[in-house]
Amino acid sequence: MKKAIEVSDLHVSYHGKQVLEHVSFQFECGNLIGIIGPNGAGKSTMLKGLLGLIPKDAGSITFGNEHVDAVRKKIAYVPQRSNIDWDFPIVVKDTVLLGTYPRLGLFRRPKKADKEWALACLEKVGMEEYANSQIGELSGGQQQRVFLARALAQEAAYFFLDEPFVGIDVSSEEVIIKILKDLRDEGKTIFVVHHDLTKVEKYFDGLVLINKELIDAGPVKQVFQPEKLQKAYQSPFTGLGMLGVGV
C-alpha cells in the first residue's frame, strides 16, 4: 500500500505554549484514523499542525513523500460545528459548492457542471431536499452531513474532520460513518478527531492516542489497550470494563 502520511518528531506550540511534543506516526492510504485523547490533549491543535495551519517548532510531516503545500487542494477539512457562524447568509447547496473552489482555483467560477456535481454530493448524504435552506435552519446532524457533502465535492485524497459526531442524531452519525468507510475503501485517508471511546473499535482502523505528547499510534488493536488509555487519561480507567476492553 502507498504511504499516505508520515509524521516524525512533531512539536507544536500555540501562543508560545508547548501543546504537543514528540509526535511520530505513519499510516498508509485507505485508512480511517481516529485521533483520541482527553479534553485539552491537543487533538484539534494536532489536526491544525498536520495541515500546517499553525507553525511547528520541530519535526516533519509528509503526505505521500510530499510537503503539505504540494497536496493542499486534495485536503478536505470539516470544522467543529462550534467554529462556524450558522447565521451566515449561505444556503445548503452553495455551502457544498465551496468544495469545488480548490479545483477551480483563482478567477474561475463554478459552472453548471460544478453545481450539478455539488447537488450529486448533497444527494449522497441524503440532504438534497434541503438544498435551498439556510444552513442555520438545519439540525446539528444535518449540518454535519452538509459539510461532509462539501468535503465529498472536493474529491480530496485526505479528509480531516474535527469532532464530527458531537451533538448529532444517531441516523446522521450512521450516514456519516458509512460514507467515511466507503471513502476509506476507495483508498482515501481520513483523520477524525473523536472523543467517544465506546465506538472507537467499531469505527476506526488506526488510532493516534495523545495527551500533550504521543502515547501510541498504529492499528486500533495495538493502541486501544487499557494501560495505554490509562496513561493518556491519567486516571484509573474504571469504565474500561464496560467498554469491552479487557482490564
Binding site: R72, K73, P89, T95, L98
Partner: protein
C-alpha cells in the same frame, strides 16, 4: 421636485449626487464583508486612523488619498502586531491603536489648517465635493468593485470558513489585509460625503439591514449597496434643503432604514417573530 430641478441646474449638486451614490454602493459592498467577518470595530478604527494621513498629505501638499492609505494600512498592521504578540485582546488593541492615530490626526490637522477643515473631514460636507474629488471616488469605487468581483469566491469562502480555506491553500492572511486595504480606500472615498467619524455607519448599518433580509451573500451585498446609496441620496437631499452637515444626516437615514427592517423583516423582524410566537403559543394552548 424642486430638488430635481436644482439637481439639473447646479453642477456642485450633480457632483455631490454622483459621489454619494458611489459612496453608498462601495460602503455597502465592503460593509457586508466587514459585518460577516465580525470586524465592525476594525472598520471604525481604520476610518478614524486615516486622519493623520490626511493631515500629513495637506502639509506635504499632495493628494490626501496617499497619506490616508498609508496610515490606514499601518493601523491594520499595528493592530495585528499587538494582538498577535501580546496577551492584549483584539478589541483592546484596536481601541488602543486607533485612538492614538486619531489623536495624532487631530493635532496635525489643527496645526496644518483651520478648524473649519477639521469639521468637514470629521463630519463630511458632500456639497463641497470638487470635480477631482468626484473622480477620485469614482476611480476608487471602480477598483473596489472590481476587486470584489474578481475575488468574490475567495472572499466568500474565507469569510465563511477560514480554516477550510487555509487548509486547501488559500492565503487567508493576505485576504485579511487585502480587505483592510479596500476598507481604507472606501474610507478615503467617503471622507467628504460622511466624514471619518461616521463612515462606520455607512459600513455597518446598510449591511446589517441587508443581513436581516436575505440568506444569500450576493443578495445581501446588492441590498446593502442599495440601502447605502439610498441613505446617501436622502442625506444629500435633507442636508441641502435644511443646510445640515451631510454625515450625521446620512447616518440617521441608514438607521431609519435599519429600524424599518428590524421591525418588519419577514424572517428576522421583531414584529413577525412576535406574531409567529403568539400563534405558536395559541396553537399549543388549544
Amino acid at each position: 421636485m424642486e430638488f430635481i430641478q436644482d439637481l439639473m441646474n447646479y453642477g456642485f449638486l450633480q457632483k455631490a449626487f454622483v459621489t454619494s451614490i458611489m459612496v453608498g454602493i462601495i460602503c455597502g459592498v465592503i460593509g457586508s464583508f466587514i459585518v460577516l467577518r465580525g470586524m465592525a470595530l476594525m472598520g471604525d478604527a481604520i476610518s478614524h486612523a486615516v486622519l493623520p494621513g490626511v493631515a500629513i498629505s495637506y502639509m506635504l501638499g499632495i493628494n490626501y488619498f496617499y497619506g490616508a492609505v498609508v496610515t490606514g494600512v499601518l493601523t491594520a498592521l499595528g493592530i495585528g502586531v499587538i494582538s498577535q504578540n501580546s496577551r492584549v485582546k483584539s478589541d483592546s488593541s484596536i481601541g488602543l491603536v486607533f485612538s492614538a492615530f486619531f489623536a495624532l490626526g487631530i493635532i496635525l490637522i489643527t496645526r496644518a489648517k483651520s478648524a473649519t477643515d477639521l469639521t468637514q473631514i470629521l463630519f463630511g460636507n458632500v456639497l463641497s465635493v470638487r470635480t477631482s474629488d468626484m473622480w477620485l471616488t469614482l476611480i476608487v469605487g471602480a477598483v473596489v468593485l472590481l476587486a470584489v468581483i474578481i475575488f468574490y469566491k475567495e472572499l466568500l469562502v474565507s469569510s465563511f470558513d477560514e480554516t477550510m480555506a487555509a487548509a486547501y491553500g488559500l492565503r487567508v492572511r493576505l485576504i485579511h489585509y487585502g480587505i483592510m486595504v479596500l476598507l481604507t480606500l472606501v474610507t478615503v472615498a467617503s471622507l467628504q460625503t460622511v466624514g471619518v467619524i461616521l463612515v462606520v455607519s455607512m459600513l455597518i448599518t446598510p449591511a446589517s439591514t441587508a443581513y436581516l433580509l436575505t440568506n444569500r451573500l450576493s443578495v445581501m451585498i446588492g441590498l446593502a449597496s442599495f440601502f447605502g446609496a439610498l441613505s446617501a441620496v436622502l442625506g444629500l437631499y435633507i442636508s441641502f434643503l435644511y443646510n445640515m452637515p451631510s454625515g450625521p444626516v446620512i447616518a440617521l437615514a441608514t438607521t431609519a432604514i435599519f429600524i424599518i427592517a428590524f421591525i418588519f423583516s419577514p424572517k428576522q423582524g421583531v414584529l413577525w417573530r412576535a406574531v409567529r410566537g403568539n400563534r405558536h403559543r395559541a396553537a399549543i394552548g388549544k
